[in-house]
Symmetry: D3
Subunit: 245 residues, 6 copies
C-alpha cells in the first residue's frame, strides 16, 4: 500500500478510516423521503419527492423515472458562494454532480416496477467540508427507500422497485498517500481525487478519478479502489442501520 | 375585536396566539452567523456572511451595506416546487421577499458603523408552513447579531452597528376573524394577509397588507395591527433570550 | 396631525393636496382599453387587452383571469435606465410593482362574471416623477372599464364583471411631515413611503408602507392613512368623471 | 411605372402619396431630445439620451458613439404581443431593427465632433400600423438634433456633430402595384417590401428589400426607388419644418 | 463604371471577378443534405435536416416550413470570437443573418409541395474571410436540393417543392471602386457593403445595402447591382455543376 | 478476458481493435493550432487559440491557463439536435465534457512555462458516431502542440510548456463483452461505458466509468483498463506520427 510511515492525517484518522457518518431520517416532513446525512462536518439534506407522470421520453413506456438535482446553499462554504438562481446560470460543476447522483440512484431502483411515476431527488448542501457528492448519494438512497415505502403504502407503486443499497465515497492521494473520505482541507491539496459509487454487493456503479495536478498509476488506482470498497461497505452498513434492515 | 364566539382555529390556538417559536444559534459553522428559526412547522436557515467591500453605489462612502436573498428549497413545500436556478428565472415572489428582508434588516444596522463591509443575509426555507418571510426576518436578526459580534472580535467593524431587534409576524382575516401567525392551512384561505415588521420599541419598519379575495376596513386593520404588535413583542423576547441579552 | 407650521412643499402644494390629475381615454386604438394617466409630470400609458382563454391553473374553472405588467421606458427617468429586455433580466422592483397592480385590479373585477377570458393590463411609464405605481393602478382601472364595455358589446363577456373603482396614492413622511402624492424630489428623500390602494367605498385593497431610513409610529401611520383616504376619494372622482359615470 | 389603372388603395391615397406625417418635439422632458413621430396611425416615441463616456471599443479614441434600441410596447399591435423582457429573449426582428436604426443615425452624426460621449436613441412604438422602423429613423433624427443642441449649450460637445437630415420610408409591391409608405393592411399582403434610408441630398444610407412571397425585377426595383426618393424628400421637409430650419 | 485606372485589388482579381468557388456535396453523412461551400478562404458547412411536423403557426395548413440558423465557430475568425451558447446570448448580427438565410431559401422552395414537414438549414462557418452570409445561402441551396431529393425518394414529400436556384454575393465600394465578392481585408475597409440574393432568372430575392461610413448614389447602386448580377449568374452555374443538372 | 467465443462486433472489428484514426493538421488557418480528428465516422474539429492574459484567479501568478469548450453542431447527430445558443441553455452533458477536456489537456501543459497567456481549446463535432469526447481530447493535444510551437516561434511563450502526449479512448461492455472504441451503434446499447485519458507513459489522467443500466465488477474494470491502455498507446503513436516526432 502506498503510504509513508511518517504520514499522519490532520484530523488524526487512519488513512483508511471514514469520518463519523450520521444519517437522520424524517429530517423534514413534506417530501416522501427526507434525510440529513453527515460525513464529519459535511451536511446534506437529501429528499425524495414523488411526481405523478414521467418526462416525455418515458411516456407510455409503463416505466417510471428518477431525476436528481444538487445544489450548494450560498453559506455552505467557508467563503460564501454566489446563489446560482441569482447569477442566472448553473455552474458546470453543479450540472456534473446532479447528473452523477441521478445515474447512481437509478442503479438503485427498478424503473419497470415504479409505474409511470417520477422520483425527484434533491440534495442541498447545508454545510460543505469535502465529499458533498458522495454524502449526497449515500443519503439519497435512504430518502429514496423511505419514499418508495410511502408510495407502496399509498398503493401508487405497483411493484417492489427498490434495489440493493448504493453508497459513495471519495479517496485521494495526499502527498502520495492514499486517504479515504477527504475533508476539504485534504481535498484541496490532493493530487488525485477518486469518487466511487458501489452497490451493497461490491459492484461498481460509477468511478470517476481525476488527477489534474498530476497523474496516477495503475497500482495507485488499485490501492484507492481497495480503500473505496472498504468505505462503501461501512456506508452501506450505516444505511441499513438507519433503515432498520 | 372582530371575532365570532364560535370560531376556533384548526390547531386549537387562541386567535392572538403565536405558534411555538424556536431559535437555534450556530446551526452551521461556516458563516459568521447561522440560525435555524422555527415558527411551528416552518423552518428557515438564516445566515449572515461577511464580504469585504461594498457594491459600486456605496464605494468610497465610508459606509457598509446589507443585502438579503430568500429562497425555498424544492422539497420545502407540500408539493415539490421547481428549483429556480434550473428554471432559469427567479420568481417575482422570491424577489419581493428578498427585497423585504433586506429593507427590514437594514433597519437593524447602522451602516455608518460597519466600515466598507457587506453583510449578506441568506434565508433558505427548509420546510414551509406559512409565515416563511416573517420567520426569515426574525431569525435573520439573530444571525446578524452573531455576525456583527464576530466582526467586532476580529476588529473588522470599527463601531457598534447593531441596532434594536427587528421582528416580523403575519396576521390575517380567516372567515372574518383576526388571527395571528397563520400556518399554511389558514393562510391559503385567508381573505386578508398582513405582514408587519416592527422594532423592539413598537415602531413599524414595514407593513404590507393585501386582500386579494376581498377588501378590509380601517377597523379591521386596527385589530390586525394590535395582534401584530403583540406577536412582535413576543418574538423580540425570543430573540433576546436566544442571544442571552 | 404631524406637521410643523414652517414646512412648505417645494412645489407649493398643501400637505394633503394631490398633484394635477389627468386621465385621457382612447389614448391608442388597438387595445380594448387605452388610457394615458398623469399625476403631475408622471405619465403612464395603461392598456387593457383581452386574450381568449385563461392560464393553466384557471382552465375549466369557468372563470376568467387578470394579469398585469409594469415597465419603465428607458428614457422615462432623469437618467436613462437600462432596457430590461436587453439586460436579460427583469428587476425585482419591476416584478414587485407588476404583482401589486395585478392584485389591485383583480379586486376591481368579478372573475366569475368574465367567462374564460384573460385581461392583460400593461402599464408603461413614459415619464417618471414619483408615484408611477399608484398612477398605474388608477389609470388601469379606467382602461379596464373600457375594455369590459367593449367585451360586453361584442358579447364575449357573459356577465357584469366590473366592480367599484379602485385607486391608489402614495403618502410619505418628508422631514417628519406627512405629505400626499410625492413627486420624485420628495420621494427620494422621504423617510417613510406608504402606498395605499382603496376602493370607492373607502376599504383597503392593499397597503404597503416602508421606512428604510427610519421607522414610523402608529400615530404617524394613522395620519398617513387619513391623507391617503382623501387622495383616493379624489382619484375615484377623477376616474368617474373620465368614464362619465 | 408598374401600376394598373384599376388599382386603388384601401385608404384612398395615390400610390406615391405618404400618410399624414406629424412630428412633435418635446414629447417628454427627461431626455435631451424627445419626439413623438406619427406616420398615419403609427406612433413612435423617439428619444435621444446622453451618456458620458463611450463603449470599450471606442475608449481613448477621442470620438463619441451612438447606439439605438427599438421596441414595441405590448399593446401597440392589433393583437397584444408578448413583452420581451418577460419572455426572457429579444426577438431577431427587434435586434435587426435596432441595428438598422443605429447605423442610419450614425450616418447623421460626425462622431469625431462629439467628444467621448454616447448618444442612446430609444424608439418605443406606442401604436403600430406599418412602417414603424422608418418612422423611428425619421423621428429619431429630430430627437438627435435636439439632444445635440442641448449638449452644445451645456458645453459638453466640443464641435458641430450634426450632419444633414436622414429620413426613411417603406415602399412595396401590392398586387403588383408600387405603393409608398405601407400601412399594416397593405404591408401584410405585399409581395415585396423595401425600406430606404436617405439623406437630405438624395444619397442612400441603407436599402433593404425583400420579397419572401415572390421575387422582383430590376425595373420594379427602380420604380420603388423613385417612390422612396419622393417620400424621403417630403420627410426631410417635415423634419426641417419641425426643427424650424 | 466607377473605377480608377490605377486601382488594383490586393489579391490581384479583376473588380468584377469572384474568388474561387468550390461546392462539395456529401460533406457529412447524417443530415439529408450536407455541403461544404468555399468562397476563397471562407468555408461554411451547410446542412439541410428534415423534421416531421411544422411550427404552430403552420399547423393544419397542409404546407411545410423552412428555418435557418447561422453561426460562427469560435475559431473561425482571425481573433477567436466568444461562443454564443456560453455567453448566454445570441448576437444581433447572428439573428439578422439567420433570418436572411431563412427568407432567401424559402424563395427556393414551394412550401405547399412539401407536406407538413420542416427543413432546418444550418450554416456553420468553419473559417471566415468575408462573405460568410452569401456563401451560406449559395451552399444551402445545394444542401436543400439534396435533402429534397432524399425526401422524395423516401416518399415523404408529396410534390416537387424545389424551385429555381438561389445564390447570393456581396459587392462593395472600396476606395470608391466597385468590387465583387469582398474578402475580409476589403470588407473591413469598404465604404459600402451590398448583399444581393438572386434567382437563376436574374430576379431579386433580397437586397441589403449599407454605407455606415459614407453614403452612396443611385449611379453607384446601379454599378454594384450589375456586378452582383454577374456574380450570381456564375454562382448558379457552380450550383448546377455541383448538382449535375 | 470477459468475452464469448460467439460474439462479433457489427463492423467486424476485433474486441480490442480501434476504428481507423486520422489526424489532419492545419485543417483551418486562423487559429494557432487546427486539427481535424477522425475516429471512424466521428469527426471533430479541434482548435487551439491563444489569448493574451489570464482569467482573474490566475492574474499576477506568472502562470498561464488553458480552457476548453466542446460543442456538437446541430446536424452532427443522426437526428438534428437543437442549437444550444438558440435554446438559451447549455446542456449538462456539454458542460461535463468541456470540463473533462480542459482538465485532460491541462495535464499536457506546464502552465508555469506558458507566461500569462491563455490557450482556448475548441472541440466542435462535425459528425458524431460515438467517442466524440475521446476523439476531442486526442485531437486537441495535436492542436495544442501546434499552437505552442507557433507561440514559441513568435517569442510569446518563454519556456517549453508542452508535456508528454495525452490521448483518450472509450471502452465498454456490450452484451457482456469488453469492446474498445465504441461507435454509436454499440455505445447506445452498452451496459458500461468507460472513458480513459492516459499519458504517453501509461499513467492515468482521468478515468470515468458508468454503468447506468447495470453494474460492473472489479474484474471487468481490469479488463476494460487493459483494453484502454492498448488503445491509448496506439493513439499516442498516431499523434506522434501526425506531429512528425
Amino acid at each position: 500500500m502506498t503510504s509513508s510511515s511518517s504520514f499522519s492525517r490532520f484530523d488524526g484518522r487512519a488513512q483508511d478510516q471514514m469520518r463519523a457518518v450520521k444519517i437522520t431520517r424524517g429530517f423534514t416532513s413534506n417530501p416522501a423521503g427526507s434525510v440529513l446525512v453527515e460525513f464529519g462536518n459535511t451536511r446534506v439534506m437529501c429528499t425524495a419527492s414523488v411526481e405523478l407522470g414521467v418526462p416525455r421520453f418515458k411516456r407510455d413506456s409503463g416505466e417510471g423515472w428518477l431525476t436528481a438535482e444538487y445544489a450548494m446553499l450560498p453559506a455552505a462554504t467557508a467563503e460564501r458562494n454566489r446563489r446560482e438562481s441569482m447569477a442566472g446560470k448553473v455552474k458546470g460543476r453543479t450540472h456534473e454532480i446532479s447528473r452523477l447522483i441521478g445515474r447512481s440512484l437509478r442503479a438503485a431502483v427498478d424503473l419497470s416496477q415504479l409505474g409511470e411515476n417520477t422520483i425527484a431527488i434533491d440534495c442541498d448542501v447545508l454545510q460543505a467540508d469535502g465529499g458533498t457528492r458522495t454524502a449526497s448519494i449515500t443519503g439519497a438512497y435512504v430518502a429514496l427507500a423511505d419514499a418508495i415505502k410511502v408510495l407502496q403504502e399509498r398503493g401508487v407503486v405497483p411493484g417492489s422497485p427498490l434495489l440493493a443499497p448504493v453508497a459513495a465515497v471519495s479517496v485521494g492521494l495526499v502527498d502520495g498517500n492514499v486517504c479515504l473520505d477527504l475533508p476539504y482541507e485534504e481535498d484541496s491539496r490532493a493530487d488525485v481525487d477518486l469518487n466511487v459509487v458501489m452497490t451493497e454487493h461490491g459492484e461498481f456503479v460509477e468511478i470517476q478519478g481525476t488527477g489534474e495536478e498530476t497523474t496516477f498509476t495503475r497500482a495507485q488506482l488499485n490501492d484507492m479502489l481497495d480503500y473505496a470498497e472498504k468505505g462503501c461497505r461501512e456506508l452501506v452498513a450505516a444505511q441499513k442501520a438507519a433503515l432498520g434492515i
